[in-house]
C-alpha cells in the first residue's frame, strides 16, 4: 500500500476543551481545588502539567508557592474562577484574568483593563498553568533557549574570519570561535594565522557539529566550544530535527544525552546524540583506529592525537546495510515519539527501539521492515505508554 489517507481527527463535534488537550480538564479541576487548598493551607506546592513540564520552567515554582502563602485569606467567589478562560489554550493578547489574587508568571504580562484594573494577559500561544496563585502560560512550541553546559548539535551556516555561526534552533545563531576548537595535530597549541586562513578546512557551511554551550550573551546568544574529544564534526549517520521545546514532546535534558546503543539484527553498535536543542544525530559507532606506526607507544597525548585525527574528516567509513537499516529504525522511533507527544530521552528511545524490533517481527515484511510512520508509530507509542 503506497499511500494511506486518514480522515481528520474529529474535534469539531466535541467541546474544544476536551479535544485540544485532554489534560485540560484536569488542569482546570486541579486549579480550582488548588486555589481552595492554598487558601486553607498555604505553601502547598503542586505542579500542574506533571512530567511534561520543562525543567527550566520550574525555577519560579518555589517562589510562586512562597509568595502565595503571603496572601491573606479573602472571601472566595465562584466568579473568581469563572473569570479564567474556560478553554485550555490561550493566544497572545488574550486576557486570562482581571482578578488581583493571581500573580503573573512566565508567558504573561500585565495590561491595564478598564478603571485602572490590571489584567493578566497571555503573551504566548500556549496552555495556562497554575502553581498555587501563579499563572503562567506554557508555550505550545518554543525555540531553544541555550544554557551554559548544554550539549547541542548544530549546523554551520556561516563562516567568518575568526568564528563560525552555528544554527542551534535558537532565536539567534550561536557563535563558535576558532579559539574554542581543538586544532588538529593533537598537541594543544596556540592558533596561528594559518589556521585563520584555512578556517574552512575545519568546518565549512553545512557541516554538523556536536558542541557544548560555553557561555551566554546578555541577549541570549550562545557561544559554543568543541574542546573535548567527544565533540566535533559529525559523520557516518543521519540528522533529524525534532521540533523545539514545549508541548510535551521533544528532547528533554537528562543524565545522558549521548550513548551507544547495541542494535538488533546484526546492526552493531550505534551512537545516538540527542542535542538539548532538539537536533538529533544517529550514527554508526566507530572505534578510533590506531595507525600502525603509533601502536606500541601509548600515552594520553598519543591517544588524543589518534582520536583527533578523524575530528575534521568528512569522509564516511564503510557502513553495512544492516547498520543503515537499524539507524533508520532508531530515526523512526524518535519521529514516532515526537509525533505522539512523548519525551525523547535515552530511556524512551531504548525502550522504543526494542519495541520497534518486536513490532517488525510480527509485521508482514519481516524484521527488515523499518517503517514506523502513521499507525505503526501510534501503536509503538501506545505500547510505550502502557508499560
Amino acid at each position: 500500500m503506497p499511500i494511506t489517507i486518514l480522515p481528520p481527527k474529529a474535534f469539531r463535534d466535541q467541546p474544544p476543551r476536551h479535544s485540544l488537550n485532554h489534560d485540560s480538564d484536569d488542569v482546570m479541576s486541579d486549579a480550582t481545588s488548588d486555589s481552595e487548598d492554598s487558601d486553607s493551607q498555604p505553601g502547598g506546592v503542586s505542579l500542574d502539567g506533571g512530567a511534561t513540564i520543562h525543567p527550566r520552567k520550574r525555577h519560579r515554582s518555589g517562589a510562586g508557592a512562597a509568595a502565595s502563602s503571603t496572601f491573606t485569606k479573602r472571601p472566595k467567589t465562584n466568579a473568581a474562577i469563572n473569570s479564567i478562560p474556560r478553554s485550555a489554550i490561550v493566544t497572545p493578547g488574550e486576557r486570562i484574568t482581571t482578578d488581583p489574587q493571581w500573580m503573573r508568571g512566565h508567558g504573561t504580562y500585565l495590561s491595564s483593563a478598564s478603571l485602572g484594573e490590571q489584567a493578566i494577559t497571555s503573551s504566548l500561544a500556549g496552555i495556562v498553568t497554575r502553581t498555587n496563585k501563579l499563572l503562567s502560560v506554557r508555550p505550545l512550541r518554543a525555540r531553544y533557549t541555550p544554557e551554559v553546559g548544554d550539549l547541542v548539535v548544530g549546523r554551520i551556516v556561516e563562516v567568518q574570519a575568526k568564528r563560525w555561526r552555528v544554527d542551534v534552533g535558537s532565536t539567534q545563531l550561536a557563535a563558535l570561535p576558532l579559539s574554542a576548537i581543538n586544532l588538529p595535530g593533537g598537541i594543544l597549541r596556540k592558533r596561528t594565522e594559518t589556521d585563520e586562513l584555512q578556517i574552512r578546512t575545519f568546518f565549512a557551511e553545512g557541516d554538523l557539529v556536536v558542541a557544548e554551550v560555553q557561555q551566554l550573551f546578555q541577549d541570549g546568544g550562545a557561544v559554543l566550544h568543541t574542546r573535548s574529544l567527544k565533540y566535533g564534526k559529525l559523520r557516518n549517520g543521519v540528522f533529524m530535527a525534532v521540533s523545539g521545546t514545549g508541548g510535551g514532546g521533544g528532547v528533554v535534558r537528562s543524565r545522558r544525552q549521548v550513548w551507544t546503543l547495541e542494535s538488533a539484527n546484526n546492526g552493531g553498535p550505534i551512537d545516538v546524540i540527542l542535542g538539548v536543542n532538539g537536533y538529533v544525530w544517529i550514527s554508526k559507532h566507530v572505534e578510533p583506529v590506531v595507525p600502525e606506526e603509533a601502536k606500541g607507544q601509548t600515552g594520553i597525548t598519543n591517544l588524543e592525537e589518534v582520536v583527533s585525527a578523524t575530528m575534521y574528516s568528512s569522509q564516511n567509513d564503510r557502513i553495512e546495510p544492516e547498520t543503515m537499516r537499524e539507524i533508520a529504525r532508531i530515526r523512526g522511533v524518535v519521529t514516532a515519539l515526537v509525533e505522539n507527544g512523548l519525551r525523547v530521552d535515552e530511556d524512551m528511545v531504548t525502550k522504543g527501539y526494542n519495541e520497534a524490533v518486536e513490532l517488525a517481527l510480527v509485521s508482514a515484511d519481516g524484521p527488515e521492515d523499518v517503517y514506523l510512520g502513521g499507525e505503526r508509530g501510534e501503536q509503538l507509542a501506545a505500547a510505550l505508554t502502557a508499560v
Binding site: P2, L6, D207, R235, N236, G237, Q315, D317, R331
Partner: protein, 390 residues
C-alpha cells in the same frame, strides 16, 4: 528551469543518504518502501465560502489548503475566428451539432500558488503553478466543463495555499490537495436554457459536481459526462537505478534525477467503458479494471543535489589526522598527488554531486512505474477515491 529550494546538508550526510538510497532495496531515512507515500490526513469542504475546498496535512506537519471559486463571466467573442453563428448559418447540416459545441479556453482558469516565505513572482512558485495548471489544462477537457452557453462561461479561481513552511518540495502535496478540491467542487445547477442569460438554481443540494461521480446515480442521469478526474502530479526521483516516490527534502538533496509526472484518467477509454458501467455497478469490478491512466506531462525538476558542495576525502584533507602534523616537503608532495587523483575519482564515503544528464533508461522506467497497471498512480487514485467528499 527553476529549481527546488536549496538545502544545507553536510557532505557526510549527503554521502550517507546517497549510499543508503543506492542499496537494493533502498533504505530511506524514514523507513518507507520506495513507492510509499508519507501518511496524510485529508478532508474536503472546509471553506464554506468556496465552491469546493480541501485540506491535506502530512504527518511531518506540512499542510496545504486549496479553495476553488467560480464566477460567471461573459465569453469574449473572438474576431480572429469565424464565430459559431456564422458557421452555423453557412451549413445547415451541421446546425444541430454546432449548437452544442462545447469549447473551452485556458483563460477560464486562474491558478495562484502561495508559499510562505516566498514571493509570488519567485521562480519556484511560478514554476509550481505552471506545472499544476499545465497538467490541468493539458487535455483541453477540463475547460469544457466550464462552458455554460455560447455567451457565458464559468471563470474558475484556484487558490492554492501552503500553510506550513515548505519542509519538503511541496509539489505532490499541492497537487493532491488541488485534486481533492476539484473533486469536491460543485457549480450551481443551470435553470435557463440555450443562450439566455444564465439563471441558476438556489438549491445548493441540487448543485452538480464539477466532476460527476460515477457512483451517484442522480448526477449521472442529469450529466452523462464521463467519469473523468482531475490530474495528479507525482514527484518521482532516482538514485542510481532505484526509483523513489514522494521524496522528502533530504532524499531530494541526493537525487540524480527528479521528475514531476502528471497523470490523468483517459476520457476516451472511459467513454468506451461507460457502456459497461451501468451493467456492472458494483465497485469490485471497477477496481479490478483499474484506472485508464494517461500521461499528461513530464517535467524534470532540477534537484538541489547539483548545487551541493563536494566532500573532501581524507587523503587531501589538510586538517585530517596525520596530514595535519606533516611538515616535510616529501610528504606534502605525495599528498598533493593523492589529492589530484581524489578529485577526479569517486572515493567511497565521500560525497560528490551528480554530474551530467539523466539516463534515458532510468527516466523511462520512472514514467513506466507511475503508469503501469496497479502501479503507484493507480493506487493513489484509489486512495483518493476513499476520501469523503462533502
Amino acid at each position: 528551469m527553476a529549481s527546488s529550494q536549496h538545502v544545507l546538508l553536510s557532505p557526510a550526510e549527503l554521502a550517507y543518504l546517497h549510499a543508503s538510497l543506492s542499496l537494493t532495496p533502498p533504505i530511506r531515512p524514514d523507513g518507507r518502501s520506495p513507492t510509499q507515500f508519507r501518511p496524510l490526513v485529508a478532508e474536503t469542504g472546509i471553506l464554506p465560502g468556496t465552491n469546493g475546498s480541501a485540506r491535506i496535512c502530512f504527518a511531518d506537519g506540512t499542510e496545504a489548503i486549496v479553495g476553488v471559486k467560480a464566477e460567471v463571466e461573459r465569453t469574449r467573442t473572438r474576431h480572429d475566428f469565424p464565430s459559431l453563428d456564422e458557421s452555423a448559418e453557412d451549413d445547415d447540416d451541421l446546425d444541430d451539432n454546432q449548437n452544442d459545441v462545447v469549447k473551452g479556453d485556458n483563460d477560464w482558469v486562474e491558478m495562484t500558488v502561495e508559499i510562505p516565505g516566498y514571493r509570488d513572482d519567485d521562480a519556484g512558485t511560478v514554476f509550481l503553478s505552471a506545472m499544476l495548471s499545465e497538467a490541468l489544462l493539458a487535455d483541453g477537457e477540463f475547460t469544457k466543463r466550464l462552458w455554460i452557453n455560447q455567451r457565458f462561461h464559468w471563470k474558475l479561481y484556484l487558490d492554492i495555499l501552503l500553510i506550513s513552511p515548505p519542509l519538503s518540495y511541496p509539489l505532490p502535496l499541492l497537487s493532491l490537495t488541488t485534486h481533492l478540491a476539484l473533486l469536491a467542487a460543485r457549480l450551481p445547477r443551470l435553470k435557463s436554457e440555450g443562450d439566455e442569460d444564465p439563471l441558476f438554481d438556489d438549491d445548493w443540494a441540487a448543485a452538480p459536481y464539477l466532476y460527476p461521480r460515477p457512483s451517484e446515480k442522480g448526477s449521472k442521469a442529469t450529466a452523462p459526462a464521463p467519469a473523468a478526474r482531475p490530474p495528479v502530479t507525482l514527484l518521482v526521483m532516482a538514485v542510481g537505478n532505484n526509483i523513489i516516490f514522494d521524496p522528502s527534502k533530504e532524499e531530494l538533496a541526493v537525487a540524480d534525477v527528479a521528475l514531476a509526472v502528471s497523470v490523468g484518467e483517459s476520457s476516451s477509454s472511459t467513454t468506451s467503458t461507460t457502456s459497461s458501467k451501468p451493467t456492472a455497478m458494483d465497485i469490485d469490478t471497477e477496481e479490478t479494471k483499474g484506472h485508464n491512466l494517461r500521461l499528461l506531462s513530464v517535467r524534470t525538476i532540477d534537484p538541489p543535489s547539483r548545487l551541493t558542495p563536494p566532500g573532501i576525502p581524507n587523503a587531501s584533507n589538510s586538517a585530517y589526522g596525520a596530514n595535519a602534523g606533516a611538515k616535510d616537503t616529501e610528504k606534502k608532495k605525495q599528498q598533493q598527488e593523492q589529492a589530484r587523483t581524489a578529485e577526479s575519482e569517486a572515493v567511497e564515503g565521500v560525497w560528490k554531486a551528480p554530474r551530467g544528464g539523466a539516463k534515458t533508461l532510468v527516466m523511462a522506467t520512472m514514467v513506466q512505474k507511475v503508469l503501469e497497471k496497479g502501479g503507484v498512480a493507480d493506487e493513489v487514485l484509489d486512495a483518493l477515491d476513499g476520501v469523503d467528499l462533502n
